[in-house]
Amino acid sequence: MRLARTAADNQQREWPSGAEIARLVVTLVVATLLQTTVAPNIRILGANPDFALIIVVCVALLKGSEIGAVFGFLTGTLVAIALMEPLGLSAFVFVLVGFLAGRYAETADLSAGYAPLVSAFAATLLADVLLAMAQFLLAREVPLGFFLGRVLVPSLVLNTLLAAPLYLVVRLWLRGAGDLRVARAR
């Protein structure tokens, strides 16, 4: 994966249309509501699903690094506002996740179909480690055993499993059914 942006990349950059922005705004609101009101009540394999993180990854894979980073920033900020948590922390993590997932989509071959799973796995790893480090810096207790056994591993498994169905839904919503038919025909 190349992190640096080339001149060709810049030429190919396309900003979303009004309709696309509207769809992204709806996705943003749905992601926030899913994360704050639905996810806390669902516990599978010992973890709560991180809908917001997975949706940021999906949007970044479909729309690229720049939109991914902006979408991540807005999602992180909105989730923090909804939960009355410190502003900037989730946004920081989601910007990185959105940008890196977008760069992965821009530089790697996604035809194999496992890109959402790989990206969700890597994003969860990055997000969990960064959030744990932030808690440590904020002088909160971060036991290593608890972090590995009860936070990281369950959320890695759950988020990776949820990535595929969520990716399909987000892709259908952002690109329409025609895009899936074209992909299947290839």
Binding site: N41, R43, N48, L83, G88
Partner: protein, 264 residues
């Protein structure tokens, strides 16, 4: 991306450095006024699904709970007879000393009913957001209870929403005492969600199964006598000054829905 990351760091820095009336807190408050009704609507709309999900989960644990409950029932039957006698004695004593009706909450306290509309999903925070705020008279530090007992306290408040830090949060500390006996300690949450009663002197006699309530000492935000939980285990080591007491809270924090804020 660099600009966005810098913006995040700036927001984070401002958030911790400024007062509650500062720019970042103000912006958060304005946006929250739009988001809170949406959260409320979603929480109501998804409640049947949440209930169904919880019911499925409960079904699996019901079998093992059944045997435990039968054992508890036998103990409770014996306890009820004792309790009735105690109640009778208690009523007589009250009449004798002409005590006022022993309400847990102060006469001037009001209970504001609220619904939990959101909660933190990270393991690091045990907080929930409720749909009442300063508009209903809620203030920071107000205790929050439900039918089972103490839920937590208000840590942030906005016009129509408030953040409640649960007693399971690692930064929650509540002055509490063991009943009967009156051994006092500090109730503390943890990152694992376990609740422990700390700083109880080793010489105090504390047993498994005793109840823990808030002690309401002078200066405490909690009034005296709010039920918190039942003692699950008691341990002490020779080298330690205090006992290690773990608690099973009365409140089921997974299923929090309606709560009451004690507004003074």
């Amino acid at each position: 991306m660099a600009v966005l990351l810098l913006l995040c760091v700036a927001m984070l820095t401002l958030y911790f450095r400024e007062s509650d009336s500062g720019f970042v807190h103000g912006t958060q408050s304005v946006v929250l006024r739009v988001v809170a009704p949406l959260q409320n609507g979603t929480a109501r709309a998804t409640k049947p699904f949440r209930d169904a999900w919880n019911w499925t989960g409960d079904l699996f644990s019901a079998k093992s709970e059944n045997a435990q409950l039968r054992q508890e029932l036998e103990q409770l039957r014996a306890g009820v007879a004792k309790e009735l006698t105690t109640q009778d004695e208690n009523a007589q004593l009250r009449a004798l000393v002409a005590l006022k009706n022993d309400n847990i909450f102060p006469v001037n306290a009001q209970l504001v009913t609220a619904r939990v509309v959101a909660r933190s999903t990270t393991a690091w925070y045990s907080t929930v957001t409720i749909d009442v705020g300063t508009g209903s008279g809620v203030e920071v530090y107000d205790p929050v209870v439900n039918g089972a007992g103490l839920v937590g306290r208000v840590t942030k408040v906005d016009a129509n929403a408030a953040q409640v830090t649960l007693i399971t949060d690692q930064q929650s500390f509540v002055d509490a005492m063991v009943q009967p006996g009156g051994a006092q300690g500090i109730l503390s949450g943890s990152v694992t969600g376990d609740v422990t009663l700390q700083y109880v002197d080793k010489n105090e006699r504390v047993k498994v199964g005793q109840y823990v309530v808030t002690s309401g000492r002078q200066g405490s935000v909690f009034v005296r006598g709010i039920p918190v939980g039942q003692i699950e285990s008691v341990g002490s080591q020779d080298v330690e000054l205090y006992q290690s007491i773990s608690l099973d809270p009365f409140v089921d924090f997974r299923k929090l829905d309606l709560v009451q804020v004690v507004v003074r």
